[in-house]
Amino acid sequence: MKKLNVTIVDDDSGRSIILERALKDAGYEVVAILSSKDNLLLHIEKVQPDMIIVDLDSPSRDSLESMRIVTQHNPKPIVMFTNDTDDSMISEAINAGVSAYVVDGFNEKRIKPIMDVAIARFREFQALRNELKKTRNTLEERKTMDKAKGIIMDQRQCNEEDAYKILRNLSMENNKRIVEVAEQIISITGALNR
């Protein structure tokens, strides 16, 4: 059987590279990776994909929905799945932030395995991104804490350990996260020094 031609439309180049590799490993041909800034009509007409996988939050989706692909002699609309697509798969896809379009008349059975790969990669990527965000937040929080401790050390003429204890006590007394207390101290000091 002919290898399936898949096109990816995603503005996140990191994610599209991961997805491309995964699809290739699974035996599919990725014929193009496009972003929403490309002239999709032109590119898609040229590469004639069987299936287009697109980031759910890509502004290109409305354009894709209006397109037709000229297969052989008759133009066929690109459709979002088909009438008898498995409902739970669509729901899962939307939750993972991935959408897809196929050329009308495309065999239903061939969609599912590709979608499974895409959904898994989008999920993985989201988890990575959350992890990164968490790390970044932790770093930010540490910086905030250090700054607040510095202010306390200056004003109370105490060492870092004591400054930390003051912060911790304020946090417990006010029933607030310690980093929130630190932020408050920084903003108040900033306002007073203005």
Partner: protein, 408 residues
């Protein structure tokens, strides 16, 4: 004006935390104002407004429950219910979120070509597409490639308005030109790059093209057909059945917001709100012309008074008229997007919840139309809609070409 924000009883609400989707366009105004002015809160709702980049996203996230309700194109509850271009999902609306609000803008190059052909072609408004038709025929004879026009979504209000305007001058939108779909925020760039020759889109994108000198507005959607609905509040039918009190609370908050926005003195503040980062995220200067009704067709042209360019409440703008829905369906049939064998009357009755709208108005002590349909195209100026104990001031409902549309 300050708003009365004392909280209403919320004990009967089925759901208080809501996710409401919107697309960053000027006519998301009532949603933005209801949120920023505490009106959702007043009715016991904790609303997160979720900014969506595509109408397809609005449709899909609504259908699969990631959104409770959403700003939709007025045609979308019909397309979702009938499964046009996506899966079938019964969708309803009881509230119009804005009438008018779009325009047709063309590139400087195309404008110059039309001027050359007929220097007076846009002297009289509303401008018909007659000279455009001449130019298209000329291009055919000369073997030049066809013009490309863009709109925003396959079965959009914009698509049908554009087709209607073109076809009135004998242009076949399926064969004489190319029609494509481009996201609203990319319209101006595409016009500038000559990828498209013209488009039909909502604000602020026409005025944005005017302000940076990329194009000329030929006709507004208000001119094509006065006061037709463009955006509605859509929701799944099953959601509406499950959450009647929450549904009412949302509609009440939005009607109050619409009343506030439609007071002339609040339009500048409204523009400032929707221009913000959370909403459209553009300079307020490009929002102001349409919202304050000081509109420009050309960068170096005069300012034209168009007080009705964006309307939200005035002239019963929020009422989901069945005759409006019927006209859209008539256009869907005309262009082959729907078969002509449909039971239009019952479809509309199921989707456009006029009785629910009336019930909300009664509870709020507001006057509301007692009829579901009106004759379209017969009122050339303001008129009064009478019922037993009140009358409502209505606006004109003229089509630019003098057409009439009667649905009963």
């Amino acid at each position: 004006m300050s708003l009365e924000t004392q909280q209403h009883d919320q004990s009967n609400l089925e759901k208080q935390q809501l996710n409401i989707g919107f697309v960053p366009l000027t006519d998301c105004a009532t949603l933005a104002v209801a949120k920023e002015k505490g009106l959702f809160k007043k009715y016991g709702l904790d609303v997160n407004l979720s900014k969506e980049v595509s109408w397809a996203n609005i449709r899909d996230k609504l259908a699969y429950g990631m959104l409770d309700c959403a700003q939709m194109l007025a045609t979308m509850p019909i397309t979702s219910t009938l499964g046009m271009g996506g899966w079938k999902k019964e969708t309803v609306t009881s509230l119009v979120l804005g009438v008018n609000g779009n325009a047709v803008t063309i590139s400087n190059g195309l404008y110059d070509e039309l001027k050359k052909l007929n220097p007076e072609f846009d002297k009289q408004r509303p401008v018909a597409a007659d000279t455009l038709k001449q130019l298209i025929e000329l291009k055919k004879v000369n073997g030049e490639k066809p013009l490309t026009f863009a709109h925003v979504f396959p079965a959009s209000t914009h698509n049908y308005f554009l087709r209607y305007w073109l076809a009135s001058s004998g242009i076949d939108p399926d064969h004489d030109i190319q029609l494509s779909v481009i996201p609203p925020q990319q319209m101006v760039t595409n016009l500038e790059a000559n990828i498209v020759d013209g488009f039909c889109v909502g604000e602020p994108w026409n005025q944005s093209a005017i302000s940076n000198g990329t194009g000329h507005v030929l006709i507004t959607s208000h001119e094509i057909w006065n006061n037709a609905p463009d955006k509605v509040l859509g929701m799944n039918k099953e959601w509406a059945y499950r959450n009647p009190n929450t549904h009412k609370a949302v509609v009440k908050a939005l009607i109050e917001a619409a009343q506030w926005v439609d007071m002339h003195e609040n339009r500048v503040e409204t523009a400032e709100i929707v221009a913000g980062e959370k909403y459209i995220n553009v300079p307020v200067d490009v929002i102001l012309p349409s919202l304050t009704g000081k509109y420009k067709y050309h960068q170096d042209g005069e300012i034209v008074d168009l007080p009705d360019f964006n309307l939200f409440y005035k002239y019963a703008a929020a009422f989901p008229w069945h005759s409006h829905a019927a006209w859209y369906i008539s256009q869907m049939i005309r262009w082959g997007d729907l078969p002509d064998s449909l039971d239009v009357k019952n479809i509309i009755k199921d989707i456009f919840w006029v009785d629910f709208h009336r019930q909300v108005c009664t509870e709020m002590g507001l006057d509301c139309p007692v009829i579901n349909t009106k004759s379209e195209g017969h009122h050339l100026q303001q008129w009064e809609l009478f019922s037993d104990n009140h009358s409502i001031l209505m606006a004109a409902d003229t089509f630019f070409n003098g057409d009439t549309f009667d649905f009963s």
